[in-house]
Amino acid sequence: MVDLNSILMLAILLLPLVGGLLAYMAGNRGGGVTIATVFAAVLGIAVWSFLTIPAGTNLQADWIRLGEYSFAVGLWYDQLTGIMVMVVALIALLVAVFSMEYMKHDESRARYFGLLGLFAFSMYGIVLSSNLLLTFVFWELVGFSSYLLIGFWFDQVKPPLSSFKAFVMNKVGDAGFLLGIFVLYAYFKTLNIAELLVLAEAGLDIPDAMLFMAGLGLFLAAVGKSAQFPLQTWLPDAMTGPTPVSALIHAATMVAAGVYLLVRVFPLLSPDVLQLIGVIGGVTAFTGAFAAFAQNDIKKILAYSTVSQLGYMVMAIGAGFPVAAFFHLVTHAFFKAGLFLCAGSIIHYFHETNHDHDFDAQDIRNMGGLRAVLPITFVTFTICTLSLAGIPLFSGFLSKELVIGGILSSDLPSIVSIFALVSVFMTAAYMGRLYFRVFFGTQVKSRFVENIKMKLPLMVLTALSFWAVFTLNPFGSHNGVTDSLAQIIFNPEMAHYTWLPILSVVLAVSGILVAYLYVEKGMLVKPVSASKKIWGGLSANNFYLDYFHRKIVAGGAMKGASFLFFFDKKILDRLIDLLAKAEVVFAHFVGLIDKHVVDGLVKLLAWTARFAGGRTRKLQSGNVQMYFVWALFGLLIIVYFLT
């Protein structure tokens, strides 16, 4: 019991909770420093544990014991846990440091840092738990702390509503989780994940329908937590919370918990469930990417992007490549946290410089030319965007290749592959739109000195978005992370497609290009007219020299240029315009579906329940003798049916 490994594991789990309490008690002044120190300590312990604790270390305790039945709880440590703990610890530390600057004007910072501690505690609980029941407990806790953080500014109008929405949406998923747990317990008499996996490997002694139910339940849990179709609507709304929280919870860690769970229990998922998972993941990736086009709020674009990327991870699981899913989870955690922190830095800049109340600091239509104002943010954002778009030399490329390769070599319906590839293009396009809108353009203002507390986390996350962190070969899919994981998780051999990297790079680049053309259309017209002038001048200067040349070459050049211009102006422009319009329309359409169909279903359910409630309540006429009649009729019916 009291060996070093257990102490390390318990320290990872409990330190954040203690730290959160300390931070809360330290008050507004010392809260940030306290929690950052604690998180740094946890990161140190996490790295130490990764180096020293052998895989398969576990820690068991009984929770409820009732005669022969007992519900155990425990912790478990292996490579997967280790990597996940380090990712969480690192991002938590960076976010805490970032928050010290970002939240410096908030009156209730102490509560904020306390909640961060609570969140980290519950997240480590999910990661370290060896037992589905304990996972469920922390699953709820993590949701709970997330609701508290989404609704952190509860005296405003929107945050409480969106935290409530998140709560309800997550509960639907949790019901599925419970169902899965019950089914598994009923058939295997244990909820220990390691034992379950052993039993699953030994051949499942369980009817197919029940296995399907269990898998479906676990997947439903992931659908809720990882914002998959059709429960994804809570995640964009959750952006009403503080931005560093969005970076930590709604980009890197909590939303990834669903994927983490699926990776953990992967062998328990039956082929039918995997098919369903793949299709849902594809639909999520596609609709998330499309919806991102119609947004003007910088955080919402990033949120939809997160939804879409989570869709990729889920697709990879559906395809049967949990390693790819997990790898994408890790890379995504870094670059998306980077993007969110950049957004935070931008919003912070506007908050610091613009005190106009009606000014919306998150609307990208109000932005432009920030390249010169926030240089570090600009560089970070560039690199993280390239990583997200899947450009070689960056980590996103590696993991995305792995995911798409997995999808192509699986037996998922081909529509899923199409979704995956089209989404690559769209991801690049909407990120390009965001990027050019925000950082280029004319609204140049004076340079703003970014605080070191904000710069440092950005730079660390930028560094982690390079390929070299994971592998030396910028095009190789095999690397340290995947290799070490392949030893403990199921990892089938993947078919190799040589054309795939080329295709995906072409898609990504063309996506950025389209965005460039669309957003910076004004800049495109100028060089053309300028070149016309140059050509005109040239022709004027050379008029006597070579009439023929002038006539043929220059005329041809002029004609060609005007044709090009015409093409550009009329056709390409129109096409792009049309495409953009179509995208906007479609995005709105998806939004409508979200709003009316999904929300409508929820409403319909609520209405049905209310209607039925009204009927049962009608019995309550207030007339006691009619009560007798109903009661006695009830008795007669029971007698009639039973004897």
Partner: protein, 100 residues
Amino acid sequence: MIPIEHYIVLSAALLIIGLMIIIIKRNAIMVLVGVELILNAANINLVAFAKNDPLLTGQMMSLFVIVIAVAESAVALAIIYQVYRHQQVSNIDELDELNG
């Protein structure tokens, strides 16, 4: 002797009539009368079954039932009286402030 079934027929008749009185009558006290009839029906059963019981358990039970019926009626009449004082109503189906 008298067959036990005949006792049961009698008690069942009183039970059913009592229930119907409870449902039909509007006056609260008449409803109480119906309840008393049901209790009497049960008592007839108890006494009839105890005929051969050396310990006379059934008769004991019926005595307890009678006493408890008194207690119940006393409380019932006290409440009915207060209801009448407050609402000037003695028909219980006119009491409809509580519903929904």
